[in-house]
């Protein structure tokens, strides 16, 4: 049962996250590159003295990141079974109760990899990200 849902924007894309996994939302930190990063990761950043990988959400959305937006304005620090991961966002739109909208499944053919659930709220469709599934699907 999802307690609350956080709605975000990354430039012209919107998406949703269950808040249970969100550890912190911070101003976009400095991103560092490392050799031989896994595809799907954009770099790493420091969070409370630890090195945290940053997901390449643009790539996950199937787009090429515009240079100015590549890192986003904020970074969502999210927990996974493999440790913390960061997600770049441009805006934190809202945090809502699930009852404010409905959860739907994307029809086959409309699905983007791992973005098969959608939270529909006030007429707008927010793909609901499953971060655990996303990181497990990153190519090794």
């Amino acid at each position: 049962m999802i307690a609350k849902i956080a709605l975000f924007a990354l430039a012209d894309r919107v998406f949703a996250l269950p808040v249970e996994g969100v550890r912190h939302i911070v101003s976009a930190p400095r991103i560092f590159s490392l050799p031989l990063l896994r595809k799907g990761l954009r770099g790493v950043f420091l969070y409370q003295g630890e090195v945290v990988p940053l997901l390449d959400l643009w790539g996950i959305f199937g787009k090429k990141a515009p240079i100015a937006e590549a890192g986003g304005q904020f970074t969502v620090v999210h927990s996974t079974e493999s440790g913390l991961v960061g997600l770049p966002v441009s805006q934190v739109l809202s945090i809502v109760n699930p009852e404010r909208g409905t959860l739907e499944y994307e029809a086959e053919g409309n699905q983007t990899t791992d973005l098969d659930r959608v939270f529909v709220c006030e007429g707008k469709r927010y793909p609901l990200l499953d971060i655990e599934k996303l990181v497990n699907s990153l190519p090794r």
């Binding site: 400095r30 560092f32 590159s33 490392l34 050799p35 031989l36 990063l37 896994r38 990761l41 790493v44 420091l46 003295g49 630890e50 090195v51 945290v52 990988p53 996974t80 493999s82 440790g83 913390l84 991961v85 990181v135 990153l138 090794r140």
Partner: protein
């Protein structure tokens, strides 16, 4: 810059101390070299470092580069010719031509001295400035990486180099 210039004249002996020409200063080798390659920062324990050649000039033989290998030239070192490797390809970094003004780090390898190029050397710093961190699980790939730890240094994660592990990058078993 003066400290770095003095450092370029240093030769790090295998006994683990450095001798600086002209000043007689002896330093304990609990220090790491910080250098940059392809925009990424690296930390190398000085016990793996034999010498830093800044602007090798005429001793850098770029004509002897070996096509389709990471060997970009050769260097005369203590009477021997040693290969100079550009680790960019092995580390998945963008290629960049090696010019005669490049910095070359001579490393202490398991099979003898060898050298790698660097874009810039930040300096040599005491171990206390570094905090070791294991690689986050999400960074680990199916093939072993040429590095297993990071060093936090002045709010920046550096790749911790070990000369023997880097040797695998250049195809030495």
């Amino acid at each position: 810059m003066i400290a770095f210039k003095a450092l370029c004249a240093c030769e790090f002996s295998r006994s683990g101390t450095s001798r600086s020409e002209g000043d007689g200063m002896m330093n304990s080798v609990r220090m790491k070299l910080v250098f940059r390659l392809g925009g990424i920062g690296f930390a190398l324990p000085v016990q793996d470092l034999v010498e830093i050649r800044e602007d090798p000039g005429g001793v850098l033989d770029l004509s002897a580069s070996e096509p389709s290998t990471p060997v970009v030239g050769h260097l005369m070192h203590r009477g021997e010719t040693i290969p100079i490797h550009d680790l960019r390809e092995a580390l998945g970094l963008s290629p960049s031509p090696v010019a005669e003004g490049s910095i070359v780090l001579v490393l202490d390898g398991g099979t003898g001295a060898w050298a790698v190029t660097a874009d810039r050397v930040e300096g040599i710093f005491p171990m206390e400035e570094f905090e070791s961190r294991p690689l986050p699980l999400l960074l680990i790939r199916r093939e072993p990486l040429p590095y297993t730890h990071l060093d936090l240094w002045r709010d920046e994660p550096l790749v911790l180099c070990e000369a023997r592990r880097l040797e695998h990058c250049r195809g030495v078993a």
